[in-house]
Symmetry: C2
């Protein structure tokens, strides 16, 4: 019988050694080592988080804020290294979503089909 | 090098075969096989979700709703089988949180310590 914690650490290792994670790391370091790109990326992140928090709190997002976010997103997408980083983030996110779907399957089966639990 | 998907399926198996999951399954089935308990539990779940959704949308929760929720929680806590189910849910949740912490560690290290990535 596999042990949960051993299996979790094994999976962590697999993620760490995967091409997807290594590529993300390289893309992230490239951006972080370029002060202009770093600032642009962090600015983008901060703006995203601010808007998300506002949305979650049900607060209104002003037209000005939407416009500011749009400008930042456009700038970021045109920066090759940041665009690459975002692409690698999306790629790893797909993998993480797959993992999440796989490991929550037992719970989903249990709670999703109460009539089939006997 | 361990493969991500192999490791994820191994972890899923470990969860499914764990004492924590088996105990939760038993507790869940006990409640689902008792029509009164089942209805009480589902009522509790529905109320919880309703309130959570309202909160996330930033909608106001009335005093009446708070009172209704309190009554349901009290009834549920006094029902031995449902209390047991909730206890087993919490126990498995701790494990799931541990797993989540373990497998997101590579990302956390990368994003949490930008000055250490060189």
């Amino acid at each position: 019988m596999p042990n949960i914690y051993d299996s979790a650490y094994e999976l962590e290792k697999a993620i760490r050694e995967s091409e997807e994670f290594k590529n993300l790391k390289t893309a992230y370091e490239t951006v972080m080592n370029d002060p202009t790109a770093k600032q642009m990326f962090e600015n983008f992140r901060d703006t995203q988080m601010e808007l998300q928090e506002k949305q979650m709190q049900g607060l209104e997002i002003t037209e000005e804020e939407v416009e500011k976010a749009r400008t930042i997103v456009e700038a970021v997408q045109e920066h090759q290294d940041i665009a690459k980083l975002m692409e690698e983030e999306q790629r790893l996110n797909l993998v993480i979503n797959d993992i999440s779907r796989i490991i929550t399957k037992p719970l989903e089966e249990l709670y999703g089909n109460p009539e089939e639990t006997n």
